[in-house]
Subunit: 228 residues, 2 copies
DNA sequence: TCAATAGTGTCTGTAAGACAGTATTGT
DNA sequence: ACAATACTGTCTTACAGACACTATTGA
């Protein structure tokens, strides 16, 4: 029942997604040491002995991106522990999914040096270190799916945004265009999705747009489904 | 980046759900050793050094219930690794969710001795060993949620079942009654949910019912939502 | 004035909830 | 016959998709 206590290494790895330059992007790092030296990998690292899993994920995220976790969404994705996924030793990794508004480029010389934003779709189809290709694919799919039934699309937007900006999030994440008028009606009609603020855009071509911030809802009723 | 390789124990724990006696039930074991000796706990145990996580979950499931995993649904739930969740040492557990048709009682004298089925709702509100109360609550909520948008309710049914049996699964899991006529129309009208077989019930009061088996769909479109 | 974007109204098809009504069995 | 359960049809309402139309700005 509990005869042996084998020793495992435990890591956290992060799928950090954002929308930049009209594309869904993922934060990847260049591995400086073997194994997989020179390959791209998800940011992550070993969990410290007296540290919780979320704390480890938040710490690694702050180390790699240089920003605090407070402003971004962070949730557990899944764990991966196939024997042989790390050639050195048995490692179980707990993957986390983070979603954030567009960030400036990682500054060279900072802890985040060597990290860069790459298009998520393309990255999920190229080899990455360890089983990170699989983890990335799972993370992208989770994010896409959660846009359907949660208001999480707002975490890709700045604190105040327009309905059109929010719509672009869906269009980019799902790779399909949405009718602006129906989307507007749907979003403003779903209680708790967005809250209007007393401000409008200015200096843009066309009629100024009402600005909104995140509402308090955690689930969308009814959901905003992507398929036909 | 990778200075220390702290040593963790890794376990798998199982939330095994079924429907028995018109109730959602969970398989719990009595802990025979400290810590939490005498308390109820989820079945589970240490992952072997050369064993994958799913393999470990399937092995523990077979050991505790005495049946092969082949006939039941098994999916990863989440991982739990707060420092101090096990008073002996640092343990990270990967929890799995299993769903199965009604099984006979665990036979005394078998490996599954000491295991028993308890109502899941009540068990999720009573103290269990470690953080198993939280894991159980997460598992029950995951199962309830997945009934909405997947055909997983069928894994609680025998290989061949009637629409009324399937409806009871939803009613028991969600704690609300569903209109038999609308449910019938919805289920038979969702492609890939159920497939009719050339058989009917007999010996029952009332008109015999057509029997069905699981379809090939993995998601329900549109979903079968529980809230109003 | 025109182009562009924001936002509203309207129509139509689909599907869910409510529930009347028909079908087929055991008692 | 009657009760019980299976199944079908109909009505109403809600909502998604399509798209005409109005509103408000910059060029």
């Amino acid at each position: 029942m509990s005869d042996s206590y084998p020793c495992f290494a435990v890591t956290v790895d992060l799928v950090v997604l954002t929308i930049r330059d009209e594309e869904l992007m993922v934060l990847l790092v260049n591995r400086g040491q073997p194994p997989f030296r020179g390959d791209l990998a998800l940011p992550g690292g070993f969990v410290h002995p007296d540290e919780g899993l979320v704390e480890a994920a938040a710490r690694e995220l702050a180390e790699e991106t240089g920003i605090a976790v407070g402003s971004m969404h962070l949730e557990q994705l899944a764990s991966y522990g196939d024997p042989g996924r790390d050639p050195r030793q048995r490692v179980v990794t707990v993957a986390y999914l983070a979603m954030t508004p567009a960030l400036p480029d990682p500054r060279p010389g900072s802890d985040a040096d060597g990290a860069s934003w790459l298009p998520a779709g393309a990255a999920a189809r190229r080899p990455l270190a360890f089983d990170h290709q699989r983890i990335l694919a799972d993370g992208v799919e989770r994010a896409r799916a959660k846009l359907e039934y949660t208001p999480l699309a707002t975490v890709f937007c700045p604190p105040e945004f327009t309905i059109a900006q929010l719509r672009r999030v869906y269009e980019i994440a799902w790779g399909r265009s949405l009718d602006p008028r129906n989307f507007h009606r749907k979003v403003t009609g779903t209680p708790g999705f967005v809250l209007p603020v007393d401000r409008s855009t200015a200096g843009t071509r066309g009629r100024p747009a009402q600005m909104y911030r995140r509402g308090l809802a955690t689930r969308l009723h009814p959901p905003l489904l992507r398929e036909d």
